[in-house]
Subunit: 219 residues, 2 copies
C-alpha cells in the first residue's frame, strides 16, 4: 500500500471522527493539500479496490475493510508518537511530524515490538486513543472539554488537541500536560475565559478557545 493511499484512508477516518459529519472531496482535498480532482481519482480507484464506498457526488465513506486499514495506520502513528516522546524524549510537536513519516514504513511486527516495549499503552502523548491490533479503540468515556467544568470543580487533563504549532506553544507556556490535575477557579462568561489553578499553586487564565481544546475528566 502506498503512502498516498495510507494517508487517504487515514484522513477520511479522522475527518469523519472530528467533524462527525459527511466527508466531502473538498474537505479531504484541503486536508491532504492536493486538488479536488486528485481526490476524485483516488476515491474511484479505492472504490474499485473495495476500501472506499464511492458513489459519484456522494460523501466519502470507508468500507469495513477501509476502516481496518485506517485504524492500523493510526495505531502505528500513535504508538510512534508515544515511543518517540517517552523513550527518545522528542517534544510533542516533532513527535507528530516524525510519526507522520514513520507510520508508513513500519511493519506490523516492529509495531508490536514497540507496543510491547511500551506496555501496550492505551493513549498517545496527546491523549488520543491507540487502536489495538484487532482495531479496538480504548474508551474515552467521561472525557469532556475543560469548558464544561464548573467553578470550584477539579479535573484531570486527558487530552490536548494540537491544532498547530501555536497551541503547542501555548500549552507549554501554561505548563499544561496530560495527567495534570486542575481546579477551575473562575469562569468569565464575558469572553469564556477560564481561570485555573495548577498543582504547583500557580493560577493561569486560559482563553475560551484554548480551553475548548483541552479535554479532561471530572475529579
Amino acid at each position: 500500500m502506498s503512502v498516498s493511499i495510507d494517508n487517504f484512508l487515514k484522513n477520511i477516518y479522522l475527518l469523519n471522527q472530528e467533524t462527525a459529519g459527511a466527508v466531502t472531496s473538498s474537505n479531504l482535498a484541503g486536508r491532504l493539500e492536493i486538488s479536488v480532482a486528485a481526490v476524485t481519482d483516488m476515491a474511484r480507484k479505492l472504490g474499485k479496490q473495495g476500501v472506499v464506498d464511492y458513489k459519484p457526488y456522494k460523501a466519502l465513506q470507508l468500507t469495513r475493510q477501509g476502516d481496518e486499514q485506517a485504524l492500523k495506520i493510526i495505531r502505528k502513528h500513535r504508538l510512534w508518537e508515544l515511543f518517540l516522546h517517552e523513550v527518545l524524549g522528542l517534544d510533542l510537536l516533532s513527535v507528530h511530524q516524525e510519526a507522520e513519516r514513520l507510520e508508513h514504513h513500519t511493519s506490523d511486527d516492529l509495531m508490536n515490538h514497540i507496543s510491547r516495549f511500551l506496555g501496550h499503552p492505551d493513549f498517545d502523548p496527546h491523549g488520543d486513543p491507540i487502536p489495538g491490533i484487532g482495531g479496538h479503540i480504548p474508551s474515552e468515556k467521561g472525557v469532556i472539554p475543560l469548558t464544561e467544568i464548573l467553578e470550584n470543580q477539579r479535573c484531570m487533563i486527558k487530552k490536548l488537541r494540537y491544532r498547530n504549532a501555536e497551541t503547542s506553544d501555548l500549552y507549554d507556556r501554561y505548563g499544561l500536560k496530560t495527567g495534570l490535575v486542575l481546579k477551575v477557579m473562575k469562569v468569565f462568561s464575558f469572553d469564556g475565559s477560564i481561570e485555573v489553578k495548577l498543582p504547583d499553586g500557580k493560577k493561569e487564565v486560559l482563553s475560551g478557545k484554548l480551553a475548548a481544546n483541552v479535554f479532561c475528566i471530572r475529579k
Copy 2:
C-alpha cells in the same frame, strides 16, 4: 531527496567498499534490482546534480558531496539496526529489513536522539562502523578474517558479514556473535575449514567459506 536517489548513492558507496573496484552500471543494476537503463538514466540525472561523477561508459563514482549523502544514509541505517536490535529486541535479520525502509524517513534530529540514546556507538550489531555526523568512520584497524588466525591463537569477533538469510542462520546455529572470544583449535588445510572453541567450551568446525565472513581482532 527521494528513496530511489538515497538507495542509488548508498549502494554505489557500499559496492565500491565491498568490491574495492570500479562500480559498473550492471553491477549496480543487479544490486538494486532495476534495469541497466534505469541506472544510466539516474546516473546522468545525478551527474547534473553534482553528486555523481558521470561520464558515459565509465565506472560510476560519487563526488565528495555524493559521498557525504551516502554516509548520512548509512549512518541512519546502522543506527536503526543497533537500536532495533538492542532496544526493541528484533533479530539481526529483521533489523536489516526494517532499517532499509526507516533510513529514508528519519530526520537528522531524530537520528541524533537515537544516537545519544545509544551512547553514540561506533558499530552496528553486524560489526559495521557507524559513520559520525561529520562523516567520520570509526576505525576497523586490526580487524581481519577468521581465516587469518593461526592454530592455538585466540581472537574476538568484531563483525559478521550477513550475505543472506542462510549465513544468519548459520551464525545462530554455531552461536557466533560480535564480542565473542574464540580460540582456533585446528585449521584443516584440506578444505580450509576451522575448528574453534567457544567461551562455553563447545567446539565447532566452521567451513572455510563461512570463516571468511567472520572478522575478528587478535587477542
